[in-house]
């Protein structure tokens, strides 16, 4: 494993530490109220996007197959979640909600909407 201290080096060296990756993920996640990490060809990601759009939320989507370090980020997410598929992953208000099953469970038990409202993604 290579330790890259600076961002600029990272552009020349394709690898990055898992720490850096997680940081990157967290940084991206906190920039917006609702952040979805997705892959453009993934149908479950499409479903989760439709779910939020159907609720009236405008999520920020990062397609990891089009992102720099996308592959590594996928791996990091996999480790983070402990699931076999890294995407989709949803962050609301900078905090990790989880993959599709967690998102749906929280929607059904009524905890998702308050979370969205709290994060400012939903008004009403």
């Amino acid at each position: 494993m290579h330790y890259q201290q600076s961002e600029s080096w990272a552009t020349y060296m394709p690898t990055a530490t898992s720490c850096q990756l997680l940081e990157r993920i967290e940084r991206l996640a906190s920039e917006n109220a609702v952040v979805i990490f997705s892959v453009s060809s993934c149908c479950m990601c499409h479903a989760i996007k439709r779910l939020f759009c159907g609720m009236g939320v405008n999520p920020t989507v990062y397609e990891l197959d089009q992102e720099p370090f996308g592959k590594d980020m996928e791996k990091a997410l996999m480790r983070l979640l402990g699931t076999s598929s890294p995407v989709p992953v949803v962050f609301v208000g900078g905090k990790l909600v989880g993959a599709m099953d967690r998102v749906m469970a929280s929607h059904i038990n009524g905890s998702l909407v308050p979370l969205l409202k709290e994060a400012g993604a939903l008004w009403l």
């Binding site: 479950m44 599709m100 929607h107």
Partner: protein, 512 residues
Amino acid sequence: MASHRVGETGLSDSGPSHHHHHHQHLPYSVFPAFNPPNTGFINQEGSAFDFGELEEAIVLQGYKIHSDETKLPLYTTVPRPAATLDMFPSWPMRVHQTPRGSNSSTDSGSAVNAAIASKPETHSHIEAESPISSNSRKASSDPQQQQQEAIYRQQLQNLQIPTQQLEMESEGGSPVTTGGSSHSQQAPKPFSEKKKGIGSTSEKPLDVKTLRRLAQNREAARKSRLRKKAYVQQLESSRIRLTQLEQDLQRARSQGMFLGGGGGGGNISSGAAIFDMEYTRWLDDDQRHMAELRKGLQSHLSDGDLRVIVDSFVAHYDEIFQLKTVAAKSDVFHLITGMWTTPAERCFLWMGGFRPSELIKMLSIQLDPLTEQQVVGIYSLQQSSQQAEEALTQGLDQLHQSLVDTIASGSVNDGVHHMAVALGKLTNLEGFVRQADNLRQQTLHQLHRILTVRQAAKCFLVISEYYGRLRALSSLWASRPREAMVSDENSCQTTTDLQMVQSSHIHFSNFG
């Protein structure tokens, strides 16, 4: 000539006098005499009434009457009451000279013998020819008549072929003794007599057409007999198969294994078979839980006790979702096509199971009275389940589209690669079924949270009864009366479905 007259008209000193009347009448006198004596024959044939042959006889009868005035001696001298019974040419006609001799004049009798002797190559059918040929031989001094006779013989040959075929398939056709007192025995011979009668007396073109039509009718009758035979055989084999399947089922059940709907190897995967077996057990458990809930509600148990029952019910449903997760890994198609459910359930199937929003809608009517908070809770549950269903459906649609594109595209060279890509995409199906089941599970848990113990007990009882009724509907539908002659595979299942209805404990009481 007198003897021939006898043959033609049935008038003879030696013959029974009542024959005379038959011949005076129009062909439709066929009917009165027809039915009773020939029921035996029909049964033997095992076929429906052969209109082809009846029609032949009627036509021939008609021709015969027209031909009365002609002098050609084409009929045997055997008088029989049943010129009406000339229906069954398929029966071989063995010519027994002695009874013949008693009924006919000695002339034709001897001529018959001569004819038989002179045609060594005859089989039983051509024996039928013999009286006629003998008769025609008698009158064949005239060259013109000879020519006509040759034509008749030709036509007769044409006719004999189908009747031969008829004869071959008709089992139990007993040899016919001519001039016998039994009506059925008399049947074939006069028929062929009359066949020749037509040939001798009518003009050629008309005759050929008629004969062809009659032959076609015979063919049709033969075909329908064959079809019926085939159908009966199919029924028999299906019945045997059914009993075998039932035996297998009994055996397998006792051994604790369920062989799945197929029975005959290979049309159900092992994962699917295992799931089907587990599901059957789960259904039995479901009955038990339902009974417990009903008893608990009726006996007004304390909330604590009722809570135990309700919790066990929720765990019961958790169990089936767990089983479905395992099954989705091994055979997602089995789940998604709903082959593990009954047809009526399959009709409402959404992503391998029930649609949560539909369930909520059904329940919201049954669950009164609810507090305002509960009403809000139920309403928002319905909303959120609907949104989740919509999202999953759209995701699955995109998967479908992507699959279609993959399978449709790709040249011959790329074929393998595209198949591999398609296979990869198919694995996503498991994810969707998994998420759908997750949605169902979460919905039930949420109901459990919103409702009080008593309300939850009632609610879960309603759910179980609802699906029980849906399953019963499938059974009743499958066992509804159908047309007798429809030979389809479902006729085998009818018995088992009826058994299902009888054995299932369906309480059509009011909900709760």
